[in-house]
């Protein structure tokens, strides 16, 4: 038994959900993914409780500092330790099963530990008083020290944690994917469903890995320089180029925006791979692989430079030409999404769908992803950006894109779960999970968007102004729907039954 699988088996409660009881020979492609997926759900459980606490702190009139602590910790847990780690676990398992390459060695281990120790360090810093988000809002961390809001120790610990997370996201995960795609030797006994880069289900994996590596490299360089200065290894004067607010904001958003797009490309790619397995008699294909690949390429090309929409309201510091470019490219991603919608819809229209919990979770996640995409391109229009930037509209967009991707990945996870763990899930619980989680997620999303349309600021600890608390009530109600849906999902996987009828059915991938 490998270290990763022993570790999973030894973790209380969550370990039972993901311990490996399937075919031992598949352990090289199952062990680290199981550990990553398990850890992601531990983070998500914390994030859900913190999310529920946000409207409660406002309704009960608690100290505003508590709200800022909860909102920072909620965002910190959701974005990377939960969604990215879930994607990393399921995505690596998918890639390994398609390529017949093991997920072993130092890189997946480092990816796991850097992500989770980084997340823990950042959480400790938040509990020590550091209240910034991943967006960092530079130079707020330093201004916060100067104005006595938090200590320099908290900043150093927090930045160390963020560095660990970024190392996984920008370097370790992409390198592992590229290594598997182009270098490692395939093992026939690990191939579950062979796929090549011509397949849309595999192309997206490669695209996302390269986007993360290339678009994240400038941030890794800048963040490393700042961190070395914070440790006192380099004089602060030597890294003045990296601490310029404009430099920091641009390298951050070039990465952060493309990270979200890369994650979207990857999950759309996973949906392209999974959907055909649930069509008609299970032997059908996508309506058009060419359309599917075209959509991925459009999303890739348009998203790379659409990040300028984060800076529209800096006019005229951001030249108008770049604003228009960001506007056009952002709406260009909508063209890619329209091609994807058509491909998915026509595939179902042509062949019919076998609606099991996994594929329905993925399709409901896709529905939310498209709804969110519309809200995103609306706020990426220069005119609307000046009414919506900095409001709850954008918090809603961030929340919805993360929840949509997580629901899609949970759908793909339900499909892969029997192969990873050797256990099977309840169809009835799956239906309840998908229904409640979808209703909750869509409801929370519209509550945020309506609050933004009404002018309610994001990350703002005074919801009792201008009648904004009504949106807080809706957020709480729909948030509880999501929490109950999630609880049903976790209960279901903790009670999963061992598949006892011979070897585990060969997964389609």
């Amino acid at each position: 038994m490998s270290f990763a699988s022993s570790m999973v088996a030894s973790v209380p409660v969550f370990g039972r959900m993901f311990k490996l009881e399937g075919e031992p020979e598949l352990e090289p492609i199952n062990a680290w993914p199981a550990a990553m997926i398990m850890a992601s759900f531990m983070w998500f459980s914390v994030a859900v409780l913190l999310g529920i606490s946000l409207p409660l702190t406002q309704m009960l009139g608690f100290d505003t500092s508590l709200f800022y602590t909860a909102v920072t910790a909620h965002g910190a847990a959701m974005a990377f330790p939960y969604v990215f780690q879930l994607m990393m676990g399921v995505g690596l398992h998918r890639a390994a099963g398609c390529l017949g390459k093991p997920i072993t060695g130092i890189i997946p281990a480092l990816a796991f530990w850097c992500m989770n120790i980084g997340g823990i360090l950042f959480t400790i810093a938040i509990l020590m008083g550091l209240k910034i988000s991943y967006a960092v809002m530079y130079p707020l961390p330093i201004v916060g020290v100067q104005t006595g809001q938090w200590s320099m120790t908290a900043v150093v610990i927090g930045f160390t944690g963020i560095a660990g997370i970024l190392l996984t996201v920008i370097l370790l995960y992409p390198v592992q994917v590229i290594k598997m795609l182009f270098f490692d030797r395939a093992q026939d006994d690990l191939i579950l469903s062979p796929r090549t880069l011509n397949d849309p289900g595999m192309l997206g994996m490669a695209m996302a890995a390269f986007v993360l590596l290339i678009m994240g490299a400038p941030l890794l360089i800048v963040a490393s320089a700042v961190l070395l200065a914070l440790y006192g290894i380099l004089p602060m004067a030597w890294v003045a180029w990296a601490t310029d607010p404009m430099v920091f904001q641009f390298v951050f958003y070039i990465f952060a925006h493309n990270l979200m797009e890369a994650m979207a490309i990857m999950i759309i790619s996973a949906l392209y791979a999974t959907l055909p397995l649930y069509l008609a008699d299970g032997t059908r294909k996508l309506y058009s692989d060419r359309m599917a690949n075209l959509a991925l390429w459009i999303l890739l090309v348009t998203s790379v430079t659409s990040f300028f929409h984060h800076f529209f309201t800096m006019f005229p510091a951001l030249p108008s030409a770049l604003s228009y470019h960001g506007n056009i490219m952002s709406w260009g991603t909508g063209i890619g999404a329209a091609v994807t919608i058509f491909t998915i819809a026509m595939t179902i229209f042509k062949h019919g769908l076998r609606p099991s919990a996994g594929i329905m979770a993925a399709l409901m996640g896709f529905t939310l992803y498209i709804l969110d995409g519309v809200s995103a391109i609306v706020t990426s229009n220069v005119a609307w950006s000046f009414q919506l930037h900095g409001t709850m509209w954008q918090a809603g967009h961030t929340m919805a894109v993360l929840v949509a991707m997580s629901l899609m990945w949970m759908g793909v996870l339900i499909h892969h779960y029997p192969v990873i763990t050797g256990r099977t899930l309840s169809a009835d619980s799956g239906k309840w999970f998908v229904t409640l989680f979808t209703v909750g997620a869509v409801g929370v999303n519209y509550s945020f968007l309506a609050a933004g349309a009404a002018g309610m600021p994001r990350r703002f600890a005074a919801w009792d102004q201008e009648g904004w608390m009504i949106y807080g009530y809706f957020i709480l109600i729909f948030g509880l729907f999501m929490a109950v849906g999630m609880l049903i999902f976790l209960l279901d996987i903790s009670r999963a039954r061992i598949i006892d009828t011979g070897p585990v059915a060969a997964p389609a991938e």
Partner: protein, 188 residues
């Protein structure tokens, strides 16, 4: 009508629903009506889907073009340039934002008077959002320290007390960073 659509948050919300509702209706109907096991060959021809594909892409591109082309006149860069070229002198207002207050060179204006807000941050990132008395955001500017001045010209059309809020998280008293400006009827 266009003013409501392009210059209010609820206008943006309405346009968003215009795109979302047809998608929701068509896509979910398709998913749930097509939820059955069909072991026979598909009876839907590629030629039929080809026609749908051309129609769908034409509709999407047309809608995207219309929405964005019409929006250009509402870009702050455009209405600022128009106001500057109108010949009516704009009142210059210097705004310094610093945790957690604003220092404005002037806070009282008249209806119909173009006002050029030149805002900057002196410490960390801040926002400068002007709210109509009915609670709508009229415009917001992101202020990044060291980048220079964010600037636009706005002409108030109604008298009242307009709230100013910071929309960029700036620390523990971010929610208390606000101010007011007063707009009065135009003197003859």
């Amino acid at each position: 009508m266009l003013d409501f659509i392009y210059r209010t948050g609820w206008g943006a919300f309405a346009v968003m629903l215009l795109f979302q509702i047809p998608f929701l209706l068509v896509f979910l109907t398709l998913v749930f009506r097509k939820a059955y096991v069909n072991t026979g060959p598909s009876e839907i021809s590629d030629a039929r889907i080809g026609g749908l594909r051309r129609g769908w892409m034409a509709l999407v591109i047309a809608l995207f073009l219309i929405v964005n082309l019409v929006s250009i006149q509402f870009f702050p860069a455009i209405y600022t340039a128009r106001a500057a070229a109108s010949g009516v002198p704009a009142i210059d207002v210097a705004v310094d934002a610093q945790s957690w207050s604003y220092d404005m060179s002037r806070q009282e204006f008249e209806v119909g008077q173009p006002v050029r807000f030149n805002a900057r941050s002196l410490d960390t990132m801040h926002g400068f959002a002007v709210y109509h008395p009915d609670g709508q955001v009229l415009f917001t500017m992101m202020l990044v320290p060291g980048v220079g001045v964010s600037s636009l010209i706005y002409t108030f059309t109604e008298p009242g007390t307009y709230k100013i809020r910071c929309l960029e998280y700036c620390g523990l008293a971010h929610h208390e960073m606000n101010d007011e400006i007063t707009v009065t009827e135009a003197s003859t």
